[in-house]
């Protein structure tokens, strides 16, 4: 009997782990949109305002510390703006606390495992040509700026 209970609990725990990892593997369909005017204006000058929930706090700190080579461009800001923007991104970052034992914090949303999985085989050659790059979310997710990615 005891054995049976143990096996059952084990099965539940395993199922729970699997389903939570699946949920994570799916990626979010909706994330809170950016409401801060400064963040919208500065980050949005060059690209879609990727919502802070997509990356953990550590990632945003790393990104903000490397603005002199921001994915191949100088995106430096004055100190005051940089501090305000970093504070906003960190406060609204993804809920998963980054554990250093996991390795380097990611800085490319497009390289996250769930992102790659979600988009694999989903994009026609024509759609890719229109978007130009995987970082151009809005080419397919029309309401991406509002945090809605549920239209796939």
């Amino acid at each position: 009997m005891k054995k049976a209970i143990f096996t059952l609990t084990g099965a539940f725990v395993l199922a729970g782990m699997l389903s939570s990892s699946f949920a994570y593997a799916d990626g979010p369909d909706w994330v809170p949109p950016i409401r801060d005017k400064l963040v919208k204006a500065e980050c949005g000058a060059c690209h879609l305002t990727y919502q802070p929930a997509f990356l953990p706090a550590k990632s945003w700190k790393k990104i903000m510390a490397g603005l002199d080579d921001h994915f191949g461009e100088d995106a430096t800001l004055d100190k005051d703006a940089a501090q305000k923007i970093e504070a906003y991104l960190v406060t609204n970052s993804g809920r998963r606390k980054w554990n250093d034992s996991w390795g380097k914090p990611p800085i490319r949303i497009t390289k996250l495992r769930w992102f790659v999985k979600e988009h694999r085989g989903e994009i026609s050659r024509r759609a890719m040509k229109k978007a130009g790059t995987m970082t151009n979310c809005k080419a397919c997710h029309l309401a991406a700026e509002r945090g809605n990615y549920d239209d796939d």
Partner: protein
């Protein structure tokens, strides 16, 4: 009465039009850069070369201004992340080059990105003179 109106209109046009044309080629921002450049005459022609030229000192993805802004300042450009950039020509984007802080920020960033260094005041002046003539 009618004749008078015509004369006034002609007078107005002859006085104001050259004035506004002269203003189009000048701006407080350009004046400030001119001071920094020691009063050299800026050249739209050199600005055009700067805009279209390929550099090797900057970041590899963006060897030229035209990498993102497109070949003609009259046309809309595109950032590497896929966002549209309003034309650089003043005739197409009259709100450009009116905010000194903004102008300084983008010269700093984009000169470092494309040339691998800050632009000289002469280069900035040439660039603006070219864009204001477009």
């Amino acid at each position: 009465m009618k004749k008078q109106n015509i004369i006034f209109a002609a007078l107005f046009a002859s006085l104001v039009m050259p004035l506004s044309m002269a203003m189009a080629a000048s701006s407080p921002i350009l004046d400030e850069i001119k001071k920094q450049a020691g009063g050299v005459e800026f050249s739209a022609e050199r600005g055009k070369t700067l805009f279209s030229q390929k550099f090797t000192g900057g970041k590899p993805d963006t060897p030229s201004c035209t990498s993102c802004h497109g070949k003609s300042p009259q046309n809309t450009g595109k950032t590497r992340a896929g966002k549209a950039i309003a034309p650089m020509a003043v005739s197409k984007s009259p709100e450009r080059y009116t905010d000194a802080k903004k102008v300084a920020k983008w010269f700093r960033r984009n000169c470092r990105t494309v040339l691998g260094r800050e632009c000289t005041p002469t280069e900035k002046g040439d660039f603006l003179t070219y864009m204001m003539s477009q």
